[in-house]
C-alpha cells in the first residue's frame, strides 16, 4: 500500500505539479483547494502526511492545522508546511513569523516556496517514515 499524501494548496497548477512529483516518487496523492476542503478530506481518509499551504481562502493553513489537531482522527498526522513566507534555514536565528508558525500544532517541518524538488521528496519520505503511526514507511 503506497503512503497517502494530502496536498492542500489553492494554486491548481502547483497541486498538479506536486501530485506528479510525489506520485512518481511512489506516493498516493489527493488534493484540496483550501483549508475547509482539506479538513474534510483529511477526516475522511486519514492520510499519512498533509502538505499545507499557509495563505489560502476559505480556511487558511494555520486554521487548518488547529482544526486537524482538534480532531482525534487527524491529530497525529504529521504536517509539512509549504509557504511563500520566510522560513528559517538551519543555523539561522528564528524570525517572528517562524516562531508563530512553530506554535501551530502538528507542523513537523516548514519549507519555503520555491523549494528544491529533491529536498521536498526527501522530506516527505522522512516525515512519513518516522511517523510512529505509519509503520515501516520510506527512509529511516
Amino acid at each position: 500500500m503506497p503512503k497517502q499524501v494530502l496536498i492542500v494548496d489553492d494554486e491548481a497548477d502547483l497541486r498538479r505539479a506536486l501530485t506528479v512529483r510525489l506520485t512518481s516518487a511512489g506516493f498516493a496523492c489527493q488534493t484540496a483547494a483550501n483549508g475547509r476542503e482539506g479538513l474534510s478530506k483529511a477526516q475522511q481518509t486519514a492520510p499519512d502526511l498533509i502538505i499545507v499551504d499557509l495563505l489560502m481562502p476559505e480556511m487558511n493553513g494555520s486554521a487548518l492545522c488547529r482544526e486537524l489537531a482538534r480532531d482525534a482522527r487527524t491529530a497525529t498526522i504529521p504536517i509539512l508546511v509549504l509557504t511563500v513566507l520566510p522560513v528559517t534555514r538551519p543555523g539561522q536565528r528564528e524570525d517572528s513569523v517562524e516562531r508563530e508558525r512553530r506554535k501551530l500544532p502538528g507542523v513537523a517541518r516548514s519549507m519555503q516556496k520555491p523549494f528544491d524538488s529533491d529536498e521536498l521528496v526527501r522530506t516527505v519520505e522522512e516525515l512519513v517514515g518516522t511517523d510512529p503511526q505509519g509503520g515501516e514507511g520510506h527512509g529511516r
Partner: protein, 541 residues
C-alpha cells in the same frame, strides 16, 4: 548705528513677511515629510507583497521544469535538457532577486535588527570559504586567507556578516578568470577590524567605483560565469548591513589587476557591548510583547580584594563569579553575562518577569555566598549586592533600566524591601511572614499596634500589613497614627480584614482611602498588592 524710523518699520515688516513665509514653508515641509513617509511605507508594503506574490508562480515554473528535467513526463533530448537547465538557472536568479528585494526593503524600512553576539571572525571566514570552495575549484581559482593567529572576537550578527562575506566572495569569483586568486585578509587595528576580499580579476573602472554600492548597478564588465550573475542588489545590501553594524565598506581597484573590497567592524568595549545588547533585547521584547530583566551584581570589598591579592588574581576571581552566575541561570540563547574589572557582573535575562527577577536575584546572591573561592592556598567567601530591573515594568529604555540599577545600588545595595506584618494572631503573622520571605522580602512582625509603632520608630519600613481587628489598638487607629506622623505618613499600608469587618464608613472614616485585603486572602493577591504599592512608592521617592 542710528536708523531712521521708516527704515526700521520696513525692516520689521520684512521680518514679519519673512517669518510668515518660513511658517508656511514649515507647514509645507511637514506635509511633504508625512507624504514621503506614507509613500515609503507603501513602497515597503508593496515590495513585500509583490515578492510574496511572485513566489507562487515561480514555484510552479520551477517544479514543472524539474519534472521535465527528471523525465517524469517522458524522455527528452539532450538539447531539451540544456534549455530546461537555462530556465532553471533563470528561475533561481529571479528567486534570488526577490530574496534580495525583500531584504533590502526590510533594511530600508528599518525592520532589520541585528542579533549581535561575540563572533569568531576567523571561523566565520573559514565557513564561508568552505561554502564557495567547490565553485572556486570548478572555475580554477585559488582561494587563500591571511588571518592573524590571535584575533579579538568581534561583536556582530554572524548571519549578516556571513551574508556580506558570501556576497563579496561570489562577486570576486564572478569577475576572476581561471588561474586567478581570491584572498580574504583580516587585520586588527586600534578601534576596528578590517576585513578585505581581494581578487586578481578584471577590476573596476574609476567611474564605476562610486556607483558600486547603489541599487541595481550593472557594471560594464564581463560577467564571467552565468550561474553567478548577481542581482544588482548584493552590494547595496552589504553596504547597509555593514553600516547597521557601525562599520564602513568600500572598494578599490586597478583595472586589469584586480579589486579589493574592504569593510570594517568597530571593536567594542564591553560596556558598550552590554548596552547594545540590552538595547537589542529591549527591542526584541517590545516586538514580542515580552519581558526582559537586567541584573547588576557588585562584589563587596572588591577594591580591598584587589589590594590584597593583586589585579590579576582578583580578575580571575571575578571571572569565576561570572561563570558561577552564568551556570546559575536558565539559559536562553539571548542571555548575556559580562563582568567589569571594577568588581561588577552584569546579567541580562530574556523572558524574565519582575517576580522571577526578584527571586533569581536572591537565589544568585545566595549561590555566590555559598561558594568557596580558592585564593592563595585558602578559600574565601564573597558577598555581593544585587540590583535588578525589568522591562517594561521598571523602565522602557536601556538608559533608564541601567539608571534603576544604579539607584538601587546607591540606596545601599539592598533592594530587598522591608515589610512590617502587624497581627495579634501568631499563626497568621507567621504565615504571612513565610509567604513574603519566599518572595525575598525582609519581613518584621509586630503583635500589636503599639508594638508596631515602636518598630516603625526604630527601623526603616517600606510597607505595613495591618490587621484590622486587634485588642488594645485597632487597625484604623494605627493607620491614622502612622498617617499623622511626618516620618511615617509616606509608608504604604495594607489593611487585612475578614469579610464584614470593614467599618470605615460606619466609623465616619470614609475620608481616607484604604488598601484592603480581605481574609481569607489569596497569597497571590496579597503579593500583587504589596508589589504594586511598593512600585508606586518607589515612583514617588
Amino acid at each position: 548705528m542710528a536708523q531712521r524710523p521708516e527704515d526700521e518699520q520696513t525692516t520689521q515688516q520684512d521680518l514679519m513677511r519673512h517669518a510668515r513665509g518660513l511658517e508656511e514653508r514649515n507647514v509645507e515641509l511637514r506635509r511633504i515629510n508625512e507624504e514621503l513617509q506614507r509613500l515609503d511605507q507603501l513602497k515597503s508594503d508593496l515590495v513585500s507583497m509583490v515578492s510574496h506574490e511572485l513566489r507562487t508562480p515561480l514555484t510552479t515554473i520551477k517544479e514543472f521544469t524539474a519534472i521535465l528535467t527528471d523525465q517524469i513526463a517522458g524522455p527528452i533530448s539532450r538539447e531539451q535538457q540544456e534549455y530546461l537547465g537555462i530556465i532553471k538557472g533563470n528561475v533561481e536568479r529571479l528567486t534570488r532577486i526577490i530574496d534580495d528585494l525583500l531584504d533590502l526593503g526590510k533594511i530600508e524600512a528599518g525592520r532589520v535588527f541585528l542579533h549581535r553576539e561575540f563572533v569568531d571572525l576567523a571561523a566565520l571566514v573559514n565557513t564561508v570559504m568552505r561554502s564557495v570552495r567547490p565553485l572556486a575549484e570548478s572555475k580554477g581559482i585559488q582561494l587563500a586567507t591571511q588571518i592573524p593567529e590571535t584575533l579579538a572576537s568581534t561583536f556582530a550578527d554572524a548571519d549578516k556578516i556571513m551574508q556580506v562575506l558570501t556576497n563579496l566572495l561570489s562577486n570576486a569569483l564572478q569577475y576572476t578568470e581561471a588561474g586567478g586568486q581570491v584572498t580574504v585578509r583580516i587585520e586588527e587595528q586600534a578601534n576596528e577590524m578590517h576585513v578585505m576580499v581581494e581578487d586578481t580579476g578584471s577590476g573596476i573602472t574609476q567611474e564605476d567605483l562610486p556607483r558600486l554600492f547603489e541599487k541595481f548597478t550593472q557594471l560594464a564588465r564581463p560577467a564571467a560565469h552565468r550561474a553567478l550573475r548577481g542581482t544588482g542588489l548584493g552590494l547595496a545590501i552589504s553596504k547597509r548591513l555593514i553600516e547597521l553594524h557601525g562599520g564602513r565598506i568600500w572598494a578599490e581597484s586597478e583595472p586589469g589587476r584586480g579589486s579589493r573590497f574592504s569593510f570594517t567592524l568597530p571593536v567594542y568595549r564591553l560596556e558598550e557591548v552590554f548596552r547594545d545588547y540590552l538595547r537589542n533585547g529591549i527591542e526584541q521584547a517590545r516586538q514580542s510583547q515580552g519581558r526582559l530583566s537586567v541584573f547588576l551584581f557588585v562584589v563587596a570589598d572588591y577594591q580591598n580584594l584587589k589590594v590584597r591579592y593583586g589585579v590579576e588574581k582578583t580578575g580571575r576571581l571575578l571571572q569565576e563569579v561570572e561563570r558561577l552566575l552564568e551556570s546559575g541561570v536558565r539559559r536562553h540563547s539571548g542571555d548575556f553575562v559580562v563582568s567589569w574589572q571594577r568588581g561588577e557582573v552584569a546579567l541580562l535575562l530574556l523572558d524574565v518577569n519582575k517576580s522571577e527577577a526578584d527571586s533569581a536575584a536572591s537565589r544568585l546572591v545566595q549561590l555566590v555566598a555559598e561558594q568557596e573561592f580558592p585564593m592563595d592556598d585558602a578559600t574565601i567567601r564573597l558577598t555581593c549586592a544585587v540590583a535588578s530591573a525589568t522591562y517594561p515594568d521598571d523602565a522602557t529604555t536601556e538608559q533608564e533600566l541601567l539608571g534603576c540599577l544604579d539607584e538601587q545600588l546607591a540606596r545601599g545595595g539592598h533592594p530587598r524591601k522591608r515589610i512590617l506584618v502587624v497581627d495579634d494572631e501568631q499563626k497568621i503573622r507567621q504565615f504571612i511572614k513565610e509567604a513574603l520571605e519566599l518572595h525575598d522580602y525582609d519581613v518584621r512582625t509586630a503583635a500589636s499596634g503599639p508594638d508596631a509603632l515602636e518598630q516603625l520608630k526604630a527601623d526603616t519600613i517600606d510597607l505595613v500589613l495591618l490587621d484590622l481587628v486587634m485588642p488594645v489598638m485597632n487597625g484604623y487607629e494605627v493607620y491614622h497614627l502612622l498617617k499623622e506622623n511626618p516620618n511615617t505618613k509616606e509608608i504604604p499600608v495594607v489593611i487585612v480584614t475578614a469579610t464584614g469587618e470593614r467599618k470605615d464608613r460606619a466609623l465616619g472614616l470614609n475620608g481616607a482611602s484604604y488598601n484592603y485585603v480581605t481574609k481569607p486572602f489569596d497569597v497571590e493577591e496579597l503579593l500583587a498588592k504589596v508589589h504594586a504599592l511598593l512600585q508606586q512608592s518607589n515612583g514617588h521617592a
